[in-house]
Symmetry: C2
Subunit: 119 residues, 2 copies
DNA sequence: TAACATAGGCACGAAAAAGTACCTATAGAA
DNA sequence: TTCTATAGGTACTTTTTCGTGCCTATGTTA
């Protein structure tokens, strides 16, 4: 069956949407990173969800999975060149999201971890 | 219980994410619009999902619901001033989404309705 | 009088997404 | 020999999201 999107926004949302991808991508924008470190940084994610999401990002052509042939295993994930182009999109989303939080919750009732970091 | 986001991207995704909001917002960016017209434009949406999503967008401060006191009822939805600020975000998402489709499916295996309209 | 147009509500069921628990492989260190 | 570190896999359950079907209100029109 042939996929048909209603508009181009849906395309992006399918790629970066869901409960974990934004958080994962957030860390990937800072450079190559090992599985275990991601697991530590992405608070609350399980092994299953992490590998599942990474696999999807890889299939979508946004990241590359590099396996070092050693024991214990070492696997590193990196944004592809195309994945790099997401950075500016994420930047725009971050900016709007930050402003929105201030607009909706001016007294800090809702907070954002790393709310002040760049990107 | 107090909500805590992991990063500012999640904030935006919560507001414009899900199966229908992008499509609804897409049409709202073109100006005030009645419920019935939205239902016609947002292909496949049900009454229930439409009103549900509109209610959320209203609670999030992005749209305004204006009721005309007449029979049969007339209700019109409009972007708020803050909602207007979403336009540039949606524009960026559209642009990336359009490019991505070309990148991933250079032979047009996947299509986007209204893929050439502005915004 | 009966049907229509418009916007919406609600109970319930189906489907999709996410979470839990437990399993594998392997070289080296204790 | 047993335990550790690392990355990943799978069956199953729970939670969240979405869809279906049917109901309400009311002035106008046929």
């Amino acid at each position: 069956m042939q996929k048909q999107y209603n508009n181009r926004i849906e395309v992006v949302l399918e790629v970066i949407g869901g409960k974990w991808k934004a958080h994962i991508l957030y860390h990937l924008t800072r450079g190559p990173i090992r599985t275990g470190e991601l697991k530590r940084l992405v608070t609350g994610i399980t092994q299953k969800m992490l590998t599942e999401q990474l696999k999807e990002l890889e299939q979508d052509g946004l990241i590359v999975r590099k396996v070092y042939n050693q024991v214990p295993p070492k696997v590193e994930y990196t944004l592809t060149e195309y994945g790099e182009s997401l950075k500016e999109v994420l930047k725009v989303l971050c900016d709007w999201g930050g402003d929105y939080i201030k607009f909706r919750y001016p007294n800090g009732e809702v907070t954002v971890r790393n709310g002040n970091e760049e990107l």
